[in-house]
Symmetry: C2
Subunit: 292 residues, 2 copies
């Protein structure tokens, strides 16, 4: 059996093309959707991510704004910035790029977002709507991207055993709630650092989602024959063969060579689809708001 | 092996005694906590439940108010009633008794509750706080009661495999999030009507929580040796031996006679603890509000 690669770049391109077509089809009288990205400090990886998101916006005809605050910005400044964007009728979606500098608390900042513009789905009200099976909120982008990859790859989910490794507020928990929704109907197990018998749990997974945050944590030998493996992890580590070079690896040890049905590569798997979901949520906010 | 009965009445009595002592120990200048119960229509079971909750309040020194609306009340009337209670400084907790008459929608009514008085934990903001591991909200009473029974019975949870049958917004989903919390640390599987191989899933459970809503759905033979079984179901059915009589049964077929470690009886298991959790949440709202 050769494992099928679920190419996140190709799948995300299809979503972005749909987004672009939706935006292009608006009446002449209506303004384009707009996204505001708030970035605090100078974390290099965050700047790379924000650039990728803004480039994708441009490609799809979405207007994007970058609001950069200095690393020493205090909570009052950040909250005031978010409040102002919440009231700005020209802005449909607001993204607060995480992580924040250590002096700022993410939880209170996320709670300061206008829930109807929270296109990253991280305001507690949107988390609660997901938990309550209420479709009027926003689903966080990484879990939405994992589901999108599985659905666009025709991976059956109803009644199947999905094991999610990792219980984070950004990925593991919302993904569990999403996969439990009626119409998706997976049987969902969430395991984490305190779980016992992790190899055995992984071995029972028809679909495994690894969101542990540890490079190559999941051993090839643990995987069930015929499983579908989605790798949310992304880590930079020294290249094994080339001194002074690095490479990107995921949470799963070289899935491509395992006796499984399909896998998402790292890089080029979940990451691109996460960006595509952000744009789709932005268009959703624009459609709901009726802004123009 | 004789299965140990986890007596919800005895355990709930201890919680109620703690609640009573907390209320009694307040300064002379401070008013007692108060709970408002809103009941729409004349569902007989709802009236029984509301009476039990108000009696428990009286026993603990909590003031309780019943606001009864006619079955034909419209959404505007109900929402206005909830809004008025939300603004009333003499009221700490508000409970909207479910189910509502079919003409009313529970979701929009729950969203009309003041989140800081939502002692049943069903407003989406409180659901979201639970999902986000934010302890400033309220945990719904049935999931909180299940956890309380397990903890007070010294059932180890960290790293253990908990299987929850049922994915409801009131029980299965919030219980999953609660058991995943740091410091509780269970490995959690949620299965439901679309799950395949349910007998096998149940057989892997070190702790089984049945919240299916089907009488005697879980077969004795499915249970793992040494498991702990929590039965959230409660159903009235004809008595097998006495014509014209009925009896109450749970979602699990006669757990007492199975080769397991412990079980909650029906009745007298989760039900009494659910009421105790409502009172504990009411006192929490009173403490947070500082009302008096």
């Amino acid at each position: 059996m050769t494992a099928r690669k679920l190419d996140g770049r190709i799948l995300a391109d299809r979503v972005l093309e749909e987004v672009r077509a939706t935006v292009a089809a608006r009446p002449a009288s209506r303004r384009a959707p707009s996204l505001a990205v708030v970035l605090v400090g100078d974390d290099p990886a965050s700047h790379v991510y924000v650039n990728a998101k803004m480039q994708a916006c441009t490609r799809c005809g979405i207007e994007s704004h970058r609001i950069a605050l200095p690393a020493r910005a205090d909570a009052a400044t950040l909250h005031a910035t978010l409040a102002r964007l919440g009231e700005d009728a020209r802005i449909d979606g607001i993204l607060l790029q995480l992580p924040l500098p250590s002096a700022l608390e993410a939880r209170s900042a996320l709670a300061a977002l206008a829930p109807h513009k929270d296109v990253d789905g991280l305001h507690p009200l949107n988390a609660g709507k997901l938990a309550a099976d209420d479709f009027s909120g926003f689903v966080p982008c990484t879990p939405a991207g994992v589901l999108e990859i599985l659905q666009r790859s025709d991976v059956p989910l109803a009644g199947r055993r999905v094991v999610i490794l990792g219980r984070s507020v950004l990925v593991g928990r919302p993904l569990a709630l999403l996969l439990l929704r009626r119409g998706i109907d997976a049987t969902v197990t969430v395991a984490h650092s305190q779980s016992r018998e992790v190899a055995e749990l992984v071995g029972a997974a028809e679909i495994l989602v690894a969101a542990v945050g540890k490079p190559r944590f999941v051993r090839r030998a643990w995987l069930r024959r015929g499983a579908v493996v989605v790798d949310v992890g992304i880590h930079r580590e020294p290249h094994p063969d080339r001194p002074d070079a690095t490479r990107l690896v995921g949470d799963v040890e070289d899935a491509a060579t395992a006796d499984i049905a399909a896998y998402t590569p790292v890089p080029g798997g979940v990451g691109p689809m996460t960006v595509a979901m952000l744009l789709r949520n932005t268009v959703l906010a624009w459609q709901r708001g009726g802004g123009g």
